[in-house]
């Protein structure tokens, strides 16, 4: 059986000691899980290792941790995969430990740490109430029934129910919250899990307050427009919920279907991107801010441009742009780009890509009734 070095991040708040790495050698099958490894050590050597766990099949959502820098469930991450997986964004591996450098032979190493963005209570156990569950509460996480409530069931399309099964399959493990870069910068960001939960109601035809929910989440400066598309939550999610995708769908529905132009300028900023690419073929950053406020010569943009002057000056100083590129359009979009825009915008229905519904990429194309299409 292969051998692994299992390094577990330990912390006992009552000990007065700082957090430290606790090292164990385990001999287990490659397809055993990281949780199997931790429980073996806990059972046989040290019962004081703290980790929440129960189902061991990736459904209860208890055992999310960071494994070699990447968030995920300990129970469905195989030892072999964990030992060789790539590190997540922004992870600083600890300096090599002198005590662990043995006699030449180096075992594959698996480092298990508590999740990020949440305070550690003990060892691998974090305070999810303080962060994750508070954010869930923020999105009014219950159905507000469309009236009148029918005597029997609501009659709704099958496709809609399958569609909301994707956010519904979220197990509230917190892995996406752990590595959300926006939340690291703005701890008040509602965050990927809670916003995916919000889509579960906005996508549910039985809910009466789609507009109110969307307006609320668009107007909140820590709401849907606070996400920076870093994809960390998509990588982190063990259940294929794709939280970022749900956030983007909330934006499209808010902006396009409900014409909600938020005070944070999120909607206009997003459209400025589209306009910018359509015109230039690639992102021309110096136009972006102005476009977000209606173009360089729009009086509304003036104040914003003045207030962002320091950024502009920095950009010039660092040669991110020159006065020439700032004022002129150095590049024009080639024809295929505008043709692509015309083709997509010319469709009468918006096609949403929902892998939960359409299966895998090698699947035969979905038929009409089952593909998820809105309006």
């Amino acid at each position: 059986m292969p051998e692994y070095t299992l390094r577990i991040r330990r912390f006992d708040p009552l000990s007065g000691e700082a957090a430290y790495w606790d090292e164990h050698f385990i001999e287990m099958e490659e397809h055993n899980s990281v949780l199997d490894g931790i429980l073996k050590v806990k059972d046989e050597k040290d019962g004081s290792i703290g980790i929440r766990c129960s189902c061991q099949q990736g459904i209860c959502g208890s055992c999310a941790v960071r494994i070699n820098g990447k968030p995920g469930l300990a129970c469905n991450t195989h030892l072999e995969e964990a030992a060789h997986r790539g590190h997540g964004v922004g992870w600083n591996p600890p300096a090599p430990d002198d005590t662990s450098s043995g006699e030449g032979l180096k075992l594959p190493e698996i480092m298990v740490e508590p999740m990020g963005n949440m305070p550690v209570i003990r060892d691998l156990i974090v305070d999810m109430d303080a962060v994750h569950w508070r954010k869930i509460q923020r999105v009014t996480p219950w159905l507000i029934n469309r009236e009148p409530v029918p005597e029997r069931e609501y009659i709704v399309p099958h496709a809609n129910m399958v569609d909301v099964t994707q956010p519904m399959s979220c197990i509230q493990c917190g892995a996406c919250v752990s590595d959300c870069l926006s939340m690291e910068i703005d701890p008040l960001f509602i965050g990927p899990a809670a916003l995916a939960k919000a889509y579960r109601f906005v996508g549910d035809p039985r809910d009466a307050q789609h507009r109110e929910r969307l307006f609320d989440l668009a107007e909140d400066p820590h709401g849907i427009y606070d996400c920076t598309h870093c994809f960390n939550c998509v990588d982190a999610c063990p259940k294929g919920v794709d939280p970022m995708n749900q956030i983007m769908r909330l934006r499209r529905i808010a902006g396009t279907d409900y014409d909600i132009e938020d005070r944070n300028n999120g909607y206009r900023h997003e459209h400025a991107f589209v306009k910018n690419i359509r015109r230039n073929g690639l992102l021309h950053e110096s136009d972006l801010l102005a476009d977000s406020y209606g173009g360089k010569f729009n009086p509304a943009a003036g104040r914003e441009l003045v207030s962002s002057l320091p950024t502009g000056i920095k950009g010039l100083a660092r040669r991110k742009m020159t006065p020439k590129t700032a004022l002129m359009h150095p590049h024009k979009a080639p024809k295929p780009v505008s043709q692509t825009f015309d083709r997509i915008e010319g469709r009468d229905q918006r096609v949403e890509l929902n892998l939960y519904v359409s299966g895998y990429e090698d699947d035969e194309p979905a038929d009409e009734t089952e593909s998820e299409e809105r309006r």
Partner: protein, 562 residues
């Protein structure tokens, strides 16, 4: 000291449903759970929930299937109530927001399930338990003003008043180790089954029989404890569940010779015979040498169209991939019968009242008995919800007409002393993990699909020895913040007590009925054994056996074939 009209222990489906019902009846409610409510093991229920909602279906048909499935050990008055109330309960869930999958016309869709004469299983892909549990938790959040939640609080003891009635519970806040006596006019146990008594099991690590043991300790009667369900399709290594929904959607069972062996055992219902029948068939194939070398037979999900599998059986695609390295949409997966559910539990009436005044039970911890000798798939979610609600309502009604009872003065210090004794233990006894492993292996060897007197006696002896060893098991953690070691020690004592009652009941019932198949008594014997085996401490330290009659309303026992 916090005090509530109704205190609920456990926050899975039964507990949350009871909490909402009690609050709606006007009671003040506290809900204690040793894990966050959405981690409760109800989350793993996959296939669906039964209800005769379609106009062509009838509650009588559902009830008869359930009675037959129970091998006539289920109490028919309780079964009638469950099946009659099923459609309303299902619609309540739908209106609360459960995202049940629809049929082509937008109405609630159904799938076929084992032992049922109609397709009456309503579902959300194969995450039905998760979807319902999360929606109930949404409702708990919505009604937060009427409900206090004690999340990650472990219940160590039930508290009994001077007149023998239940007056509250003692609970430990896992975060800081603080003990709290919570006073209540009525306590509802909703703490689930005892799967961890077996190894392997489909049940999570938290499913340690806490409520069954706690109730037994305060004198409540247990019933049908010998009836332990082995699910026909669990993974060979780790015992993970492959939902019955797979067979409901059309998957086949094949032996190593490629034969669809259920044609021999259940020519009409084939793979969709009741679980005890299918598990025995598989075990027979394996024992007679027609299984695979790893002691399994195969489940062939490739019979189900791939798109349907990806849409409706998504979770077992993940389980196959992550835990067996098999793409179930392309090749058969090896499975075998594995521990899944306990039909027995704390004896209750149809309103959840146990034999201890003020103490109620609902869900897997309870035995009403609607499942008798064998539970039908997708009846357990229904059981938790219908009897969770009924318990919540009746406990609240009791509470609203009485004053807050007083609690015995010494109870908190007794518990403190017991915990301190555990914390004082050092690392020189047997390891908790080793005892638990031996217990699980023993139960899985001798108290499984096939049983006999010799094996049961051996199991009984081992369980007794383990009880002694457990009393001095090693403790490594002496702290107060999330001390999981001390909790594991208490859970181990619960598991051993539950195991002993299972073995005693299995030794007692000298016939074969439902999940209890005695190779030394291979026939069902209605003349002597159409009765429940009850177990209680009855004041003494040793469990004592008594009997109670099975309630029969309109379905007389018949021969049972599928």
């Amino acid at each position: 000291m916090p005090a509530y009209d109704v205190l609920i222990i456990g926050a899975g489906l039964a507990g949350q449903r009871a909490a909402l019902a009690a609050a709606q009846t006007g009671a003040t409610v506290g809900v204690v759970s040793k894990v966050h409510p959405v981690r409760s093991h109800s989350v793993a229920a996959a296939g669906g929930i039964n209800a005769a909602l379609n106009p062509e279906d009838s509650w009588e048909s559902h009830a008869f299937d359930t009675v037959k499935g129970s091998d006539y050990l289920g109490d028919q008055d309780a079964i009638e109530i469950m099946c009659r109330e099923a459609p309303d309960e299902l619609l309540w869930l739908e209106h609360a927001g459960v995202t049940f999958h629809r049929d082509g016309t937008g109405h609630l869709g159904t799938r076929a399930f084992g032992g049922a004469s109609a397709a009456r299983t309503y579902y959300v892909a194969d995450i039905t338990g998760q979807a319902i549990l999360h929606v109930l938790y949404e409702q708990l959040l919505k009604h937060h003003a009427q409900l206090d939640r004690y999340e990650e609080w472990f219940t160590t003891d039930l508290v009994v008043g001077d007149e023998g009635q239940c007056v509250g519970a003692i609970c430990r806040d896992l975060r800081d180790g603080r003990l709290e006596l919570i006073n209540a006019k009525a306590v509802i146990l909703a703490s689930g089954g005892a799967g961890q008594v077996y190894r392997p099991t489909t049940n999570g690590l938290i499913v340690t029989g806490d409520g069954i043991a706690q109730a037994c300790r305060v004198g409540a009667k247990l019933m049908d404890m010998e009836m332990v369900q082995y699910h026909p399709t669990t993974l060979s290594g780790n015992g993970l569940l492959i939902t019955e929904g797979a067979r409901g959607e059309g998957a086949w069972l094949l032996n190593a010779e490629g034969d669809r062996f259920m044609e021999e055992y259940a020519p009409n219902k084939l793979e969709l015979a009741s679980r005890d029948v299918v598990s025995r068939a598989e075990q027979t194939e394996i024992m007679e040498g027609r299984g695979f070398p790893d002691g399994t037979v195969a489940l062939d999900v490739t019979k189900v169209p791939r798109r349907r599998t990806l849409e409706a059986l998504r979770e077992i695609v993940n389980i196959g991939r992550d835990f067996a390295g098999v793409d179930i949409t392309r090749e058969p997966i090896h499975i075998r019968p594995g521990n899944h559910y306990i039909m027995g539990g704390v004896k209750t009436d149809v309103d959840g009242q146990t034999t201890v005044p003020g103490l109620y039970a609902a869900g897997e911890v309870a035995c009403v008995s609607v499942h008798g000798g064998n539970r039908l798939g997708a009846n357990s979610l229904l059981d938790t919800l219908v009897f969770g609600r009924r318990s919540g309502e009746s406990a609240a009604r009791r509470a609203l007409r009485m004053p807050m009872p007083s609690t015995p003065s010494a109870c908190l210090t007794d518990t403190q002393r017991a915990l301190a004794a555990i914390l004082r233990r050092r690392g020189n006894g047997s390891r908790i993990g080793a005892i638990k492993k031996e217990l699980g292996d023993t139960m899985n060897e001798y108290v499984a699909v096939f049983r006999d007197a010799e094996g049961l006696a051996k199991a009984h002896q081992i369980v007794r020895r383990l009880k002694e060893e457990a009393a001095g098991a090693a403790i490594d953690d002496h702290g107060s913040v999330f001390n999981q070691d001390v909790i594991a020690a208490i859970e181990l004592s619960y598991m051993l007590e539950v195991a002993e009652t299972i073995v005693i009941a299995a030794e007692e019932r000298k016939e074969s009925r439902g999940a209890q198949y005695r190779t030394d008594f291979p026939e069902r014997n209605d003349a002597d054994w159409l009765k429940h085996v009850d177990i209680s401490l009855d004041g003494g330290p040793e469990p004592k056996v008594s009997y109670s009659p099975v309630t029969i309303t309109r379905w007389q026992p018949e021969e049972r074939t599928y």
